[in-house]
C-alpha cells in the first residue's frame, strides 16, 4: 500500500514533479490511458455527465469488493473504470452492444494480424 510498491514510482519522498519527468507512470498500461481519456473527453464534450460516470464507478468498485475479500489480489482500478464507462455509455444509449462487439472483433483481427506480421 505504501508508495514504494507502486510500479514506476521512483521515490515517494522525491520532490513533487510532473509524473513523466519523475520517470513515474501515471498509467500502468496504455489502454488505461485510453479509458481515462475517453471518460474525461466525454465530460469535456458534454456528451456524458461525469457525475453519472462516477456513480457507475462507485457501484463497480463496490460490486468488486462485495465479491472479493479485502486482501484479495487482482484489483485493477482501471478495469473498474472501463466497466463503469461501458455501462454508462450503454445505459445512455450512446453506444450499442453489437456495434462495440463488432469493433472489438475487428480490432482483435487487426491486432493479431499485425502481430503475426512481426514474426
Amino acid at each position: 500500500m505504501s508508495g514504494t510498491t507502486d510500479p514506476g514510482v521512483a521515490d515517494p519522498a522525491a520532490p513533487a514533479a510532473p509524473p513523466r519527468s519523475n520517470g513515474e507512470l501515471v498509467f500502468e498500461e496504455p489502454w488505461e490511458s485510453r479509458a481515462f481519456g475517453v471518460a474525461v473527453a466525454l465530460h469535456d464534450a458534454r456528451v456524458v455527465d461525469f457525475e453519472t460516470f462516477r456513480a457507475h464507478l462507485i457501484d463497480e468498485i463496490a460490486a468488486w469488493e462485495a465479491e472479493h475479500r479485502p486482501s484479495a489480489a487482482g484489483y485493477r482500478y482501471y478495469e473498474r473504470w472501463l466497466a463503469a464507462l461501458e455501462r454508462t455509455l450503454l445505459e445512455a444509449g450512446l453506444v450499442d452492444a453489437p456495434r462495440v462487439e463488432a469493433a472489438r472483433t475487428a480490432l482483435e483481427h487487426e491486432w493479431s494480424h499485425d502481430h503475426d506480421h512481426d514474426h
Partner: protein, 212 residues
Amino acid sequence: MGGMHGFGGVLTPGSDRVAEHPWELRVFALSTLVGIHGIGAGSGRAIREEMAPADYLAAGYYDRWLWSTERRLLRRGTIVDDDVDNWVARLRAGERVPGREDPEAARRVVGATLEASPLRPAESARFAPSDRVRVRRMRPAGHTRCPRYVRGVTGIVETLRGMDVFPDIGPYGGPDEAVYAVAFDSDDVFGPSTEGRWTIVLDLFESYLEPA
C-alpha cells in the same frame, strides 16, 4: 423512474446516434447556455421530472430537454407564457429566426463548458454548524453517495459546504441539496480502538441526515 423497468436509458436503447435531427442538438446547446448564463430557474434535471408521467414517457429525449428549458426560462421570468407560442406563429407565417453573431461570447462559453462548476452557495439549509445529526439508517435501492460505515452514526455538523445536485436519484440526479462536512468520533463509528480516538469527516447530503 426508479422501478419502471423495460424503458432502458432515456435515449432510445440501441439508438445509433446522439440525435436524429439538428434541432435536437440545438435544444441541448440551448439548455446548457440557459444554465451558463443563469437565465433559468430550477435545476433542469429536477424539472424534467415534473412533466406529467404520460407525457414524459411519450416524449422523446430532446422533447424533455426542450420542455424543461422552457420551464426554467418561464420560472425565472426570462420569458413569459405566450412568448414561445407567439414566435411559433410568426415562424409559421414565414418569418425567419433572427441571427446574431458574437464570436467572443462563443469563445467564452466554450471555455465555460470545459470548466467544472463549484458547489453553489447554500440559500437555505436544514442544519447549521454544531448541530448534532445522525446518518439515516438507509437501505438504498440503487446508487448512493453515503458510505455504509457511518450509517446510523451520530456526528456534529462542522461546515455547510454548499448546494449540489443530490446524486442518489438516477439517471439525472435529484434536486439541489445542502452538503455538510460532518465530523464523527472514531469510537462512535468503529468502537474503541487501541489507536485511541480520531475524527472522521465526511461531506454528506442533507437527505442522508436527521436531527440527533
